[in-house]
Every structure is written in structure tokens, then in C-alpha cells.
């Protein structure tokens, strides 16, 4: 059964699913907004005390407290395993029920994507010979099948991230913000725009709204993602293009794009791939083109608080983020500069956890 949409977000197929998932949304707000600050506050205080008493050895200049020490100190407070238990459990509950609900309408969802492809085949490029590299086939965020292996993954991701964003992105509010804050080239020319790691194209469609004359393309490794993104855009009446491809091997000519956007892509790939993606983005941007990046914090040299290091470590192991610790420890900005970009601080998002960088290809 199809119960329609909540604005532009699909509605679960049964009232019981919707009530259950709304409960999880409310619970998640409590866990993230009220419980984690307690974990952080108690952990930071306990760590400071342990450093003062010598229970934890003070790091040398330029070094950081060992992660294992942070884990030990934070773990002694009972609020920590309680938070960990709750966050893991709500995530499992969310994916199970979201999939179960939308699979009730699998034929309808699949038909909707097929219909959009018949109506606008020119806006979706899927190479039948494309093979997803093994590193991309992880169940990121614990989503069954990840971005690549569940044909229903697009709609499941859409509703699943509605819960993840605690109901604050139901109408793409966050994606509107990041697309609006994407930096334009100094000369104002923005005829071709690329959204790498676009998932279901929520920022991609907003970029088209903001730049109606531009050719806007979303690129993602996940076929279920780009198929759903395409159908969603067609249903919204947005003329945007999607392509299944690797961000490190996009297939576009040199100097092709005026603007490129990435939103929380790089912590989902190994550091070696991150470097390849940055080099590829430099190649496809034209001189004077701008790369807007919103991402996890990085360069872990006392710039990331102990509580955020604790959270990222937990998230990596318990929310299937296999590559994020190496990303956080990397000199991300330095790597972008090494690729030839001129990098500066970008406009900050409402979410203070994320860093924002603007990387310009020299004119």
C-alpha cells in the first residue's frame, strides 16, 4: 500500500510503521541532543582529572591523548554504555522497520523508478558493465545492502535519513542550506555543476533550483541511489542528471565543471581513494572553478575534542563507518592543497560538527 508522501518525503506504508518510526525519531532526539552531551561532559571532566592525577599520561607537545585512554575513561561512566546501547538499538530498529514497511510496496516503488526511466532516459546514465569496487559495498550506517546492493535502497535511505536527521530534514532543509552556501566561481560562470556522492540527489535538485540555467549532475556509486534520485527528481519536475560512477573515475573531460559539491563523502572512503577523488575533482574542474566541501572534522592534532574523537570512534565501529577514523586522522586540507587547490574556510553549516572548505582551482 502506498500512503503517499509527507511533503517530499515518502510516507511508510502502514500507520503502525509510521508510528513506530516516529517514536524512534523522538527517541533519537533525546539520545543525540540530551544524552550525548552528558557523555561528553562527564567524559571530558573525568579525562581532565585523570590527566591531572597522572592516571592518564599527559601527551607530549603536538601529540594527542591515546584513543584507548579516552575510551577507558569515558567508558567508566554508566551513561556511556547506556548511550551506546540506545543509539545502536534505535539504528537497528529503524532500518528493520523502514525496510519492512517500504518492501510492502516493492512493486510500486520499482515501477515508479522504471516509469521515470522510460519518461526521461536521457537524464540517467547507468553503465551495465559498471562493477562497484569492493570498498564501496559496505553496509554504511548499518543500512542493509548499503548504497549498492539493495534495489530498494534509495527509498529506504530516504526515510532512514529522515529519522537520522531527527525530522529536521523532512523537506530537504539541510540540503537547501548546503546548496545555498555552495560557493560560486569568482567570475560568476556556473554552467555545469557536479554533486559527487549525491546519494538520492537531495542537494542536486536544490542546486538546479538555484542555478536553473546550469546543467546539474549528481554522481554516485550506488545504482539504487541514482535510480531513486532520478525518479524523485522527475516526480518533482526537476531537470537534473544522474550517473552511476566512481567519484575517482567520473568519466568527464578535463576542465568540464564550474562548480563541484561534496557533502559528507570523504569520510566514507579510504584515504587513498580520498586522494584520488580530490585529484579527479581538480582535473574535471575548469580553472577558476570551485569545489565546496562539507565534511567530518579532520587532522586530529588536538583540533578535535576528546568527546568528538570518542563519538567518531564509536560511530565507526557501531554504525559501520569503516573509513572515518583514518579520515579524521588525516591532513585533509593539506591533501587538497597538495592536489593544486587554493583552500580556504568555507561557510559553516548550522550543524557545528561539520567542517566547511572552499577549494579553488587556480585560474
Amino acid at each position: 500500500m502506498n500512503r503517499g508522501n509527507i511533503g517530499i518525503t515518502p510516507r511508510p506504508t502502514r500507520l503502525a510503521d509510521e508510528s513506530y518510526l516516529e517514536f524512534i525519531t523522538s527517541f533519537r532526539r533525546l539520545a543525540i541532543q540530551e544524552m550525548f552531551p552528558k557523555v561528553a561532559e562527564h567524559g571530558e571532566v573525568a579525562l581532565a582529572k585523570a590527566l591531572e592525577t597522572g592516571e592518564v599520561e599527559a601527551p607530549a607537545d603536538g601529540e594527542t591523548v591515546k584513543l584507548s585512554e579516552i575510551r577507558d575513561v569515558f567508558g567508566k561512566n554508566p551513561v556511556t554504555p547506556t548511550f551506546q546501547r540506545f543509539v545502536r538499538t534505535q539504528q537497528e530498529m529503524m532500518w528493520r522497520r523502514t525496510r519492512e514497511s517500504f518492501y510492502q510496496d516493492i512493486d510500486g516503488v520499482m515501477a515508479s523508478m522504471a516509469h521515470a526511466e522510460e519518461a526521461h532516459p536521457e537524464r540517467l546514465r547507468i553503465d551495465p558493465d559498471f562493477v562497484e569496487p569492493d570498498y564501496t559495498r559496505r553496509e554504511i550506517h548499518c543500512q542493509p545492502g548499503g548504497y549498492t546492493d539493495d534495489p530498494m535502497g534509495g527509498i529506504v535511505f530516504h526515510y532512514g535519513t529522515k529519522v537520522f536527521y531527527e525530522g529536521f530534514n523532512d523537506q530537504d532543509e539541510l540540503h537547501i542550506e548546503l546548496a545555498e552556501k555552495a560557493t560560486k566561481p569568482a567570475d560568476g560562470k556556473a554552467e555545469r555543476i557536479l554533486d559527487i556522492g549525491c546519494s538520492i540527489g537531495q542537494a542536486t535538485t536544490v542546486l538546479k533550483d538555484l542555478h536553473p540555467q546550469a546543467e546539474v549532475t549528481g554522481l554516485d556509486v550506488g545504482k539504487p541511489m541514482v535510480r531513486y534520485a532520478h525518479a524523485r527528481a522527475v516526480n518533482m519536475g526537476k531537470e537534473v542528471h544522474f550517473k552511476q560512477a566512481l567519484a575517482e573515475d567520473s568519466g568527464y573531460p578535463d576542465d568540464h565543471f564550474d562548480m563541484v559539491l561534496s557533502y559528507i563523502l570523504f569520510h566514507e572512503v579510504p584515504v587513498a581513494k580520498m586522494k584520488e577523488i580530490i585529484a579527479e575533482t581538480f582535473r574535471v574542474l575548469r580553472p577558476g572553478g570551485v569545489f565546496s566541501i562539507y565534511e567530518f572534522p579532520s587532522n586530529d592534532k588536538n583540533q578535535v575534542s576528546a568527546s568528538n574523537r570518542f563519538l567518531i570512534d564509536y560511530d565507526s565501529k557501531n554504525n559501520c563507518e569503516p573509513y572515518s577514523p583514518a579520515f579524521v586522522a588525516s591532513d585533509f586540507r593539506g591533501i587538497i592543497e597538495e592536489a593544486g587547490f587554493e583552500v580556504e574556510q568555507g561557510p559553516l553549516l548550522t550543524n557545528p560538527f561539520l567542517q566547511s572548505l572552499v577549494a579553488r582551482k587556480p585560474a
Binding site: 500507520l15 503502525a16 508510528s19 513506530y20 516516529e22 517514536f23 524512534i24 527517541f27 575510551r71 554504555p81 547506556t82 551506546q84 546501547r85 540506545f86 545502536r88 538499538t89 534505535q90 539504528q91 537497528e92 530498529m93 532500518w95 528493520r96 525496510r99 519492512e100 518492501y103 510492502q104 516493492i106 512493486d107 520499482m110 553496509e139 548499518c142 543500512q143 542493509p144 545492502g145 546492493d149 539493495d150 534495489p151 530498494m152 565507526s316 565501529k317 557501531n318 559501520c320 569503516p322
Partner: protein
């Protein structure tokens, strides 16, 4: 993959999805019973809300039709088929709320189910 998941006619859904959230799951407390109680608490709370939400909707739908149901609900006696149907739903609720005690019956390491992980393992 979830046992309740439907595979469409084209058989396009691989059979191995959901490994990350499957198996014996993770434990965060030295005493795994605490993990299980907290899982049960979450499922129970979700169930309470789900049923409460449905009653709210039910009352609104009936009120829209001018129907008073309180007395009729108290007087209602189920037949055998309805009893079986409600029993199956009740068993599913019990499974959702208390299934974690079966999923993680012992502390780590679990000699019977080697897929059981500590929360600090990848």
C-alpha cells in the same frame, strides 16, 4: 535479510543483506542482561506509542462518523479466528520486546554463537 521482507517477482533482492544488523548483535555492558533490558525497554516503548497512536487515529475516524465505541469495545467477545489472529500479533510483540534476551543469551565470549561482538569491536 529480514524474514518479513518480500522479494519482488523479478527476484532482484540479494539474499545476504543486513549482515551488519543481524547475528547476535553487540553488547556494551559487562552484564549482557543490561543490554537486553534496554533493548526490551526501547521496543516496549515503541510498541506503547504505536498502539496509543492507533487508538488516537481510531477514535478520530469513528468520531468523524458519529460513532461512540467505548461500550461496544468492552462488550466485544472474539471468536476463535480472532483469538488466533490476536495471539499471533501478541507473540510478535513479545518477540520484538524480549527477543534480545534470546539474541544475546550469555556474556561474551559466547561459545555457542561466535558472531556475538563486544561493542568496541569492528
Amino acid at each position: 535479510m529480514d524474514s518479513k521482507t518480500t522479494i519482488n517477482a523479478a527476484g532482484e533482492v540479494p539474499a545476504t543483506l543486513g549482515e551488519e544488523i543481524g547475528g547476535a548483535g553487540k553488547a556494551y555492558f559487562d552484564d549482557v542482561v543490561i543490554d537486553n533490558i534496554l533493548d526490551a525497554l526501547l521496543e516496549l516503548s515503541a510498541a506503547v506509542w504505536t498502539y496509543h497512536d492507533r487508538v488516537i487515529v481510531l477514535e478520530k475516524v469513528l468520531a468523524d462518523r458519529g460513532i461512540e465505541v467505548s461500550e461496544a469495545i468492552e462488550a466485544h467477545l472474539p471468536d476463535a479466528a480472532e483469538i488466533a489472529e490476536r495471539e499471533a500479533e501478541r507473540a510478535a510483540l513479545v518477540q520484538r520486546v524480549f527477543g534480545s534476551f534470546v539474541r544475546r543469551p550469555t556474556a561474551r565470549p559466547n561459545p555457542i554463537n561466535p558472531t556475538a561482538q563486544k561493542g568496541d569491536e569492528q
